[in-house]
Amino acid sequence: MNFLDNIFFALLLAIGIGYFTINVKKLIRNIKLGQDVDRSDNSSERWKNMAMIALGQSKMVKRPIAGFLHIIVYVGFVIINIEVIEIIIDGLFGTHRVLSFMGVFYDILIGSFEVLAFLVLVAVVVFWIRRNVTKLARFTSSDLNGQPKNDANYILYFEMVLMTLFLVMNAADFHLQNLGISHYNSVGSFPISQFIAPIFNGMSEGSVVIIERAAWWLHIAGILVFLNYLYFSKHLHILLAFPNTYFADLNAKGKLNNLESVTNEVKLMMDPNADPFAAPANPDAVPAKFGASDVQDLNWVQLLNAYSCTECGRCTSSCPANQTGKKLSPRKIMMDTRDRLEEVGRNIDLNKGVFVEDGKSLLNDYITPEELWACTTCNACVEECPINISPLSIIIEMRRYLVMEQSAAPMELNNMMSNIENNGAPWPYNQMDRLNWVNE
């Protein structure tokens, strides 16, 4: 009879983890659709960044309230999940609180889980209020309407339910322990749930056991559902913040990459000895496209960025273009990139592993030139992002496509560029007048 429980548990676990694995594979495949970029240098600095920024949340605390609450939820979440180890062993082998042999240490563990669970509950409620009652601007702007807005709230509800289940489970256990029911040995310490336990007074022993079991099952089932919801949610950042900060650009923020494909062409153009009709080294190579019009043209770090984005909107709220009412929102750039990448991924799944042209692209169908041209390249968004995402790098790639593949720069910029070509200055002045300032 008890066997059935264990088999059912094993099955639940296998489905939960199996589905998660399938989605992780899909995620990795999608990220690999991006162009190659080398981020294998400087591993010590990269580890350091990851430790400081993802683990230590050093950039979160720049907004102290949100930062502090986020750290509680984060630490709480990570630590409380140690409990999952015990749940899995208990579930598979039909034991109860198998780790309690650790004695006092176990008491401390359970006690601190409880305190954290309570703090997480409080933090989550405050988060919910910030989002839904006080309506912080960056949480109510139009780029979040629909799924993204619900997504944020779902997770808050999820956390509330999971934490409540955890505390109810403990409270029932504590109650049963006090009654001296066999199977429920007196172990653990319950600084929070002991105050919940009295609600079971007067209930029949059997009902409390059912409540305890129900909370236990729902808790682990909830965790598995949560795990699998991640892929569809901005909460993927829980996992991806780590690789994302590790692989982030380490150069000075002002440095834009130099396009190598362009270097080759420019050298050819400037070298009088180059033979323009020489056969290309690799005649089958697809001619390089300059800049990006779709997700496959971006590099894999930019695609990883898109999956990691928390949609917190810190970038957008610091963007000068956005603050002055222009259409540009760096957060939307990241969300659009992810949406399009998902669309391309689904296309590949439907077509047995190959992408079939769908007549759409990231440029125009998702991101408009108007947004791209509003950017001042000020790097405020990059500076603000708590996990080192660079919306600016995507903006630049798409401008490159507009200018070099489509000659679609705004008129005034075309004038500016032809001035540079002709006079060596963005203005229509003669290069020979460059020193006139000396005698003025």
Binding site: T324, T376, N379, P426, L435
Partner: protein
């Protein structure tokens, strides 16, 4: 305005078989824009006063290509870069100073992978060095009692993490230096970067420079200090927009120091 500036060119130096201590990269704005030319002159006055052995490229200088790059024209950028690098390397330039944070960033960060490796300094960094070495001094009381607020240029600040040099210079003037509510890494852009200087802004409800000038005005300044020719133009326009041009001056750090030297 016709004090004699001493401005040797690299070509002249070369003809005399000399190598200057620094190359002063004037930049397109500093060469052609009427307001920016004053900044260029102020900086040269400081160099002259400090007896810095410098030279400019003069008519051989060309646009760094920075603005083309940020507009997305990598071709044009690299053409400009290769031309400039060829010239700079031919003159065996080692150290460059410029008053334009955009040129500064581009020469410092983007030229190396195309073969242009130089030590590049922003003029505020260079002035700070001159002060430290005691090569210049100025009348500390010129700005006594004035309130000065410094607007961080994106390409000096966030782009290259230089927040201290301009502030250290200002702190030596005996002026009251007041920070805007957004400063250093959280400073707001003046609105000119990324090629915006050369086009009309996209549709919105305000121009960026107006918003940034509001930040500055909140500190009740007598002087808004800048370290970039484009920021200077943007803030000057912002001050005019607020009808405060009679009360508030927008001055580059170089001008602030040159004025205090009574040059």
């Amino acid at each position: 305005m016709s004090e004699n500036l001493i401005v040797p060119t690299m070509a002249e130096m070369m003809a005399q078989g000399k190598q200057p201590e620094i190359l002063f990269w004037v930049g397109s704005a500093g060469s052609f824009d009427d307001r920016a030319k004053k900044i260029t002159r102020a900086f040269v006055k400081i160099l002259n006063k400090a007896n810095v052995n410098f030279a400019v490229l003069g008519t051989e200088e060309s646009c760094t290509g920075d603005v083309a790059k940020r507009a997305g024209n990598e071709f044009l950028f690299q053409m400009q870069a290769f031309m400039n690098i060829e010239l700079l390397n031919a003159y065996e330039v080692k150290k460059i100073v410029t008053c334009d944070p955009h040129s500064f960033n581009c020469l410092k960060n983007e030229y190396p992978s195309l073969g242009g490796n130089y030590e590049v300094l922003h003029h505020t960094q260079f002035i700070q060095q001159l002060l430290k070495e005691g090569r210049i001094d100025f009348n500390k009381d010129t700005y006594k009692g004035s309130r000065v607020t410094f607007h961080d240029p994106c390409y000096l600040g966030r782009a290259n993490s230089e927040y201290q040099a301009p502030r250290e210079i200002l702190s030596q003037t005996n002026a009251d230096v007041v920070e805007m509510k957004r400063s250093k890494s959280s400073a707001l852009c003046c609105g000119a970067g990324g090629a915006q200087m050369f086009k009309e802004p996209e549709k919105g409800n305000m121009d960026i420079n107006v918003l940034r000038t509001q930040d500055a005005l909140e500190t009740n300044p007598n002087i808004i200090a800048t370290g970039c020719p484009y920021c200077n133009t943007m803030m000057t326009d912002g001050v005019k927009f607020a009808h405060k041009e009679n009360e508030i001056k927008v001055l580059d750090i170089a001008e602030i120091i040159a004025n205090a030297q009574n040059l």
